[in-house]
């Protein structure tokens, strides 16, 4: 019996082996390395020099890095609330039997497939002050549009819009699945009790969508904190650093300035921020009651 058990064990380890190698070598080891490197000064050409917490002291006084963190937070705040509300509104509108509902659902999800680099270039053109579609259309109605991507006030919202455009439809799919999981009897009961549509939404729909809300905000936030592709092709962090999000700064510090030690310190900052925000969400959503109907 134990011999057989052993054999089963070996099968399992064999099956897990390759993925475990991946997890250890390409996920865990990198985390250890990035932390270790944050304690070194290293420009690749010379040997790394241990500097203790010097990089962190530099970070504390580095106005540009904190500016990047601020830009990242602003970007996330521009993206996530709007995207989540829009996705939920779309799901509510499409969670009914109306003509063409399947086609409409498909059309809303299609931006999700788009290669971000390509769509970054397309939107870069849409936002072009002279021959871009947006200002051309605004011209037709007599409005002079700004120079979106060269205006420090507009560049970040413009880049955020691309992210919202890309992810709203896919997020809607999650809400649709969530809505379809809510037992219809609840609404019937509420209707017989004389609940208004607004009451039904706030007291039934929203609380029962809690797990969906948790999942989409956690995953979308983690994604938004790592924005890179669209910014790379649209603004290159400019104008005047107004779209210089943290992930872009990390890239520049490492692969343009070859300052790998400090870039690792910035990575630790981004990691810490993402971890804290995710934990905060776990607490926030965990505290609210979910109704177990099974």
């Amino acid at each position: 019996m134990t011999g057989r058990r052993r054999l089963g064990d070996w099968y399992a380890y064999l099956f897990i082996g390759p993925s475990l190698l991946g997890v250890v070598a390409f996920l865990l080891l990198p985390v250890v390395i990035v932390f270790a490197l944050s304690l070194f000064r290293w420009e690749l050409l010379s040997a790394p020099v241990f500097v203790g917490l010097e990089n962190y002291a530099r970070l504390a006084g580095d106005g540009e890095a904190w500016h990047s963190l601020w830009v990242t937070v602003l970007y996330v705040l521009l993206c996530i609330p709007l995207q989540t509300v829009l996705a939920l509104a779309l799901a509510l509108m499409l969670d009914r039997r109306i003509k063409g509902v399947r086609i409409l659902r498909s059309l809303f999800v299609i931006p999700w497939m788009a290669t971000p680099i390509v769509m970054g270039l397309v939107w870069d053109w849409i936002f072009d002050p002279r021959d871009g579609a947006l200002n051309r259309a605004l011209d037709l109605v007599g409005v002079a549009g700004p120079d979106w991507l060269s205006d420090p006030a507009w560049a970040l919202p413009a880049v955020a819009l691309v992210n919202i455009w890309q992810h709203t439809g896919y997020t809607m799919l999650f809400f649709l699945a969530g809505l379809q999981g809510i037992p219809k009897e609840l609404y019937d009961a509420a209707a017989t009790d004389g609940a208004t549509p607004a009451q039904r939404f706030w007291k039934i729909t929203l609380p029962l969508l809690n797990p969906t809300m948790f999942f989409v905000t956690v995953t979308n936030l983690i994604g938004a904190f790592q924005a890179f592709d669209t910014i790379f092709v649209m603004t290159d962090g400019g104008p005047g650093g107004s779209t210089d999000v943290l992930n872009f700064r990390i890239f520049g510090t490492a692969f343009r300035e070859f300052d790998f030690g400090y870039a690792s310190t910035l990575s630790m900052l981004l990691f810490a921020v993402i971890l804290l925000v995710t934990l905060a969400q776990v607490r926030f959503f965990g505290r609210r009651t979910t109704y177990d109907l099974s």
Binding site: L27, L37, A114, W123, F255, S267, I274
Partner: protein, 272 residues
């Protein structure tokens, strides 16, 4: 009186949203077939007549087909690796008993929390140490062994299959491999299809890692090549959109033919 009005308003809102969703794609298609002259004389949202294939011919006449082939190879290998290694690992976690299973699984779940932005620098340095910068090995290695997220999704699916499935086969003396291939995998087709689609899309669209790890033409992929089109002297929108069209077309085709798998990716997360 208000009901038809509300219905019209609903459709108007949905139509406007759908238009915004599709408009950038429309722009890519229209522009890819415009001559430079048509581009400067027509509004962006109108077609150039007669349509011209000059942009497509120009971009396909250069190195672009090579980069396209690289993207195809990368996507195929990453998807194959993900499917094979993820299925084995998820099967073991969901249906086999072995020492350390729960601890290992929690390790996987914990690594799902590690953002890819954080691992990019150390991964580059690891590949540099292994002299794998600018090689296929360096491009593929970090993502070919299966992702924790994929394993998590597949494990959920394996767990949802009835527990008694293996019993009869086991009594007949079937080993874990036979059980996996003969009994469980045929039931897993929808989940495997979904995982394949997700992996194809994310591999095809990936940019940051290929940008960092490759510099020569041997391993350059389409996304990196397209991003370089903006840096050249005088931006040629027609050429850029022709490249974009070629990059987007396979994704749109996948979307049209495998839509149900994409919708299922939402259900697979186990959320209700």
């Amino acid at each position: 009186m208000t009901r038809p009005f509300r219905r019209t308003a609903l459709y108007a809102a949905l139509a406007a949203g759908a238009f915004v969703s599709v408009f950038p794609y429309l722009l890519v298609v229209l522009t890819a077939f415009k001559t430079r002259r048509q581009l400067s004389t027509t509004e962006p949202w109108l077609p150039g007549l007669p349509p011209s294939t000059a942009n497509l011919a120009e971009i396909l006449g250069g190195d672009f087909p090579r980069f396209l082939a690289n993207t195809v190879v990368m996507t195929a290998l990453l998807t194959l690796g993900q499917l094979v290694f993820t299925t084995f690992a998820a099967y073991a976690f969901a249906r086999l008993r072995f020492r350390g299973r729960d601890a290992l699984f929690w390790l996987y779940v914990a690594t799902m929390m590690v953002p890819s932005a954080v691992t990019v620098i150390p991964l580059f340095l690891i590949m540099r140490e292994l002299e794998a910068v600018n090689t296929w090995y360096g491009l593929l290695a970090p993502y070919i062994l299966g992702t924790p997220y994929g394993i998590f999704l597949m494990r959920q699916f394996f767990k949802s299959l009835p527990g008694g499935l293996e019993e009869a086969a086991r009594i007949d003396g079937a080993g874990p491999l036979t059980i996996l291939f003969r009994i469980l995998l045929p039931l897993c087709r929808p989940a495997i299809g979904t995982l394949a689609i997700i992996t194809v899309i994310s591999s095809w669209n990936s940019f940051l890692w290929p940008l960092i790890i490759t510099s020569g033409d041997e391993t350059k992929v389409v996304t990196v090549a397209i991003s370089a089109l903006k840096v050249g002297i005088g931006v040629d929108r027609g050429l850029m959109m022709a490249g974009g069209l070629i990059a987007l077309a396979p994704m749109v085709a996948i979307f049209i033919f495998f839509q149900k798998y994409i919708v299922r990716s939402v259900v697979l997360t186990g959320l209700k």
